[in-house]
């Protein structure tokens, strides 16, 4: 059982200095728009992933006009762990577990899994492929430290290779052997990552379908298809054959950094075919599949952070979702603008809910 029992926020987003204690399985956070509901969820995400779910630049999480920030949280599994993240006045970030600082933040990922569901997540379906790769990476990284290491290394090699291609543009002498070395390095790591993604997508497809039909009560089939250039040929061959294109465009045009996930409903791309409601059901299907895959492999339920989701779901779907999650023994954080609504949704689990009103 993974539980967060206490969190204190200093200069984090809406909070200059505040502490919250959580003592139930379900925590309902209600308040007006802009009162800081999402900030609490984001702080929890921050402690699990060493970064914000929404803001990609660390300095942006610091309360406007103030300097430095600190989040401190107590997590209980079979023992109590204290996690601390500090951003100093000079912008330097430190991350500590039980007062011991991490030298590599990536070593922290996966120890305290959590799943975030936010209204903007439909971007995952409608947005660019980058979001979908990030979705895969976030989940697989929590399951395998090796995957995370490989992804980081791949990005570094890619950066070097692109930098080399850019330099070629400026100078006449071109060093093919060096480019070949980067190509070979990408080949080795690219295919390891590719294999991880194939395995993961199989699981994701099955689980998402299960939850989609469970939530929507419809018989439609959703198909998740992993798309990669590496399916047709080895990365080394692709890069060698298309070397001219790389040189012309000054970047690497083939590789797992071009992967994508295709979502289909009844044989049509999901973006076009699906209604708003179907999209939501599908999104929840994806996220629950994520929850389930992590749970199965880690043997503990990830913390669920549900941001303003009941606006989007009708009552019967909300009920089903809650029923399912409570049974999984996961700690659930829910934000909403109206406390009555939450009370209604959770009336069967009243004694398991802690209400926080902001």
């Amino acid at each position: 059982m993974l539980r967060i029992e206490k969190i204190s926020l200093y200069h984090f987003r809406n909070y200059t200095n505040q502490e919250f204690s959580f003592d139930k399985q379900i925590i309902s956070i209600t308040g007006k728009n802009g009162s800081g509901k999402t900030s609490i969820l984001d702080a929890i995400h921050f402690l699990c992933f060493t970064k914000s779910y929404f803001l990609h630049i660390d300095s942006l999480v610091i309360t406007n006009g103030l300097q430095g920030m600190r989040i401190n949280g107590e997590f209980r599994t079979d023992k109590l762990d204290t996690l601390t993240c500090i951003i100093r006045d000079n912008g330097k970030k430190e991350f500590l577990k039980n007062s011991v600082a991490y030298t590599q933040f990536s070593r922290h990922i996966g120890q305290f899994p959590c799943v975030f569901i936010a209204p903007d997540d439909t971007e995952l379906i409608t947005g660019s492929s980058e979001g979908r790769r990030k979705f895969m990476d976030t989940i697989i990284s929590q399951l395998s430290v090796d995957y995370l290491d490989q992804i980081i290394l791949y990005a570094k090699i890619l950066q070097q290779r692109n930098a080399l291609l850019k330099q070629w543009h400026l100078q006449s002498a071109q060093d093919y052997p060096l480019l070949q070395i980067y190509t070979k390095q990408l080949q080795t790591i690219g295919h390891i990552i590719h294999q991880y993604r194939i395995d993961f997508c199989k699981q994701l497809a099955t689980k998402t379908n299960e939850f989609y039909t469970y939530l929507s009560e419809e018989k439609e089939q959703v198909i998740i298809q992993y798309q990669s250039q590496l399916e047709s040929a080895s990365l080394e061959d692709l890069l060698t054959q298309n070397i001219e294109k790389d040189i012309r465009t000054q970047r690497t045009n083939y590789g797992i950094h071009k992967d994508d996930l295709d979502f289909e409903l009844n044989g049509m791309p999901f973006k076009q075919a699906a209604s708003q409601g179907q999209r939501k059901s599908f999104l929840f299907g994806l996220k629950l599949a994520q929850f389930f895959i992590i749970q199965a492999q880690k043997n503990k339920s990830p913390i669920l952070l549900l941001d303003d989701i009941f606006e989007k779901l009708d009552e019967s779907r909300s009920h089903k979702l809650i029923d399912f999650l409570v049974k999984q023994n996961a700690q659930i954080f829910i934000t909403h603008t109206h406390i009555e609504q939450v009370k209604k949704t959770f009336k069967e689990y009243q004694d398991q809910v802690q209400f926080i009103e902001l």
């Binding site: 290394l153 052997p177 060096l178 980067y182």
Partner: protein, 205 residues
Amino acid sequence: MIFSSTLIENCVNEFSKLPGIGKKSALRLVLHLLKQDKNSIDQFANAMTNMRNQIQFCRQCHNVSDHEICKICTDFSRKKKQICVVESIRDVMAIEATQQYNGLYHVLGGIISPLDGIGPEQLKITSLIERITQEEIEEMIMALSPTLEGDTTTYYITKKAQHLNVKITTISKGVAFGGELEYADELTLARSILNRLPIVDIISN
């Protein structure tokens, strides 16, 4: 800072250009020098100017040297057919301090990193290949840091030397001496297990 002497001020400014030295430390050093007798200051100043003016980089291995060819390259007792390839002069010093190596060196002057604008042509790679051919080197030991850039450089040089009749080896990577196994990072430990050694070899060595 306000000085009553421009001589002191100039000196403080010069010192504070050094890495890790601020205005206050610079002043402390300058005032210390002021207390010394004039002879020892001459010595101090001469040491610095001589160092910069007279230092040479060894024509063979690009290590720092007092002469055209450095002490290591001219040392008769050293194995002339073995070259250890390192990134910088500091690495030569580190390996020399172990007293376990008795061959020659080759200082590259950096490692390949296009991101930082360092390509193979900025490094002493051509002269390395020439040395291997001309001096009939038998073994080349790659002693570069186990980072992406270090590895890339190792692969690159290996590729360039592939057609030559030279044995190419690399320093072994693994668990640190005197380190506790449980504190070793996972990647290092995983590599150490993959590249494990038969104990017989260890004993006979």
